[in-house]
Amino acid sequence: MISIAMFNNKGGVGKTTLTCNLAAFSASVKRQRVLVVDCDPQCNASQLIMGEEFATDFYWNSDHKTSITTIRDILRPIEDGDSEISKEINPILSSKNRFEVDLLPGHPGFSIVEDRLGAAWHDLLGGDIGGIRKNNWNTEFCANVEEYYDIVFFDLGPSLGSINRSVLIGCDYFITPMGADIFSILGVRNIASWVEHWADLYENSIGLSQQRNPGRLDNYNIKERPSVLNGYLGYTMQQYITKSKQGVRRPTKAYEQIINSVPSIIEESMGPFFGENTSTESAKLGDIPHLYSLIPLAQSVATPILDLKSSDGLVGAQYKQREDYEEIIKKIAKNLYANLGESA
């Protein structure tokens, strides 16, 4: 099983759309067993995959008990002060949604665990085993679902906080979807220095703990070194709406400069995290064009873009746009799987 965190420090870059559609592609085309874990308290992925009606029923009328567990349920023991996570994992099954993926839904209350994990980070810095275990909740979670899935996508919110840090500690790989604006590109720089900073402290703390209590960490699923340090798989770029003249697209000058500088910014900031099959060239997974009205339509019917049909309300040029998107997601998937060292 491989685990991939989808992450950018800037919101609104099409991250959730990409995550869910890529996950659907892995499931339907690659025939993989896929789990999407919604770690963003804004729950966009849960809403997209399950649809608004389900979401309303699930989150608003939540007094009637369901057996489905959210990410908050998984971390409830940690919220309550334990160092363990719940082993009871009941995702929404792939047969219940059009993305054909299992979904561990998010929860707005998940942000509460931010403080717990923040405090646990301080314990970790002191070499405390409890703190180390809490920050490895996702290492443990991945071990618990290992035998059921081929690939797990984690959809993260845009903060550089303790939740996202702990998700990354447990993941093998990460991807940074980027929008066509300077802030999402600057965001990549933030991510790089943030990861470098905490990963350094993390490794030291593990060393400290092992020194003090030799062998004790072996009893738990603990990462000695975060895999994401060699797990950057690349980025996608959302295309900018250009004014064009005589068929030549003309981005604004400032934007053109930004676009041209992206590969070097990526190399400079993310280069140290490249996986063994990733290079500056291959890190560019693909460009995502502006999809205009296709995104709101796909959201309103909780469907992967590739699966949109006439009965979902496709009209006119949207048919062609859907077809174009198929090529785009194929290309991104091909590059992604190549960077994972697999043939597409």
Binding site: I241, T242, K243, S244, K245, Q246, G247, R249, H290, Y292, S293, K309, S310, G313, L314, V315, G316, A317, Q318, Y319, K320, E323
Partner: protein, 285 residues
């Protein structure tokens, strides 16, 4: 050439009807031999050559030469056996299996609610209706009854105002045929006229001497007092007097590319499609 911003706006809001003439198909290449569908003079020449020798008068040549295509068509159809006409249409428009043109691609991207074409070929309709998209586009020929229904539904409509290669007996080519068609299909033409009066029209791939645009302009009420003109993309070899009189008579504004530079014309239409997309994106329509 700059597209007027009001045209871009009207297309973005789907308040503009795109008209496709012979020039829109002229850029299509045959999958068999790499040829393109004939232009009007070549088409009429071809028909003329099929007329039995004694009837092949010089009058026809002279009419074609003087670009009196409607009259030439009238004479030709009087003398050409119907079976030979059918054969000609099949040979010229169906059998070569033409691929879509650049103008077809741009038109699909512009995504108007209504496309009217006077072309007989089915290249654009077949391109639009690829795969599951066949649910999204309806083709309405002038003798069919569902135009009003199509207009009120979410489907995109492709109106074939002069008929289609899949029913050659109903193809309209000459003035008298057009009158008969109008006589027999009141309702269709009433709807078409109301569309012309209430929408902006953009003519792509027409030359002002084309017989089909003459039929449309002479017999439809496209002029209505409005500060918003209709538009036509034409070569810059249009005769200034004709341009002026068309502008006055039909409220058409001419946008010009260098005559014969069809790549330039294609780029202009691509550019228009991109501007329309960009405007829709920025306004979320």
């Amino acid at each position: 050439m700059d597209w007027p911003i009001s045209l871009v706006e009207e297309l973005a809001a789907r308040r503009c009807i795109v008209f496709l003439g012979a020039g829109a198909s002229a850029g299509c290449l045959s999958a068999m031999d790499g040829n393109s569908p004939p232009t009007w003079p070549r088409f009429l020449e071809n028909l003329k050559d099929r007329i039995p020798a004694p009837d092949r008068t010089e009058t026809i040549d002279s009419l074609i030469q003087r670009e009196k295509y409607l009259d030439a068509a009238e004479v030709i159809l009087n003398k050409l056996p119907a079976a030979d006409f059918t054969r000609a249409i099949r040979e010229l428009f169906v059998q070569p299996r033409y691929e879509k043109s650049s103008i077809h691609e741009s038109t699909l991207e512009i995504d108007p609610k209504v496309v009217v074409t006077t072309n007989y070929d089915d290249i654009y309709d077949a391109y639009c209706r690829t795969g599951i998209a066949q649910d999204g586009y309806n083709v309405c020929k002038y003798y069919e009854q569902h135009l009003a229904t199509d207009l009120r539904s979410p489907v995109r409509v492709i109106v074939k105002a002069h008929g289609c290669v899949n029913d050659i007996s109903k193809i309209v080519l000459s003035r008298s045929q057009y009158f008969r068609a109008k006589q027999e299909n009141h309702e269709f033409y009433a709807i078409l006229n109301s569309l012309f009066m209430t929408n902006t029209l953009l003519f792509l791939g027409y030359s002002m001497s084309d017989p089909d645009i003459q039929l449309i302009l002479e017999n439809s009420n496209i002029f209505s007092k409005s500060t918003h003109p209709h538009y036509a993309l034409v070569g810059d070899d249009i005769i200034p007097d004709i341009e002026e009189s068309m502008r006055k008579a039909y409220n058409i504004e001419f946008l010009k590319y260098r005559a014969g530079q069809y790549d330039e014309a294609n780029r202009c239409v691509q550019d228009l499609a991109e501007q329309v997309e960009a405007m829709r994106a920025s306004r979320l329509t």
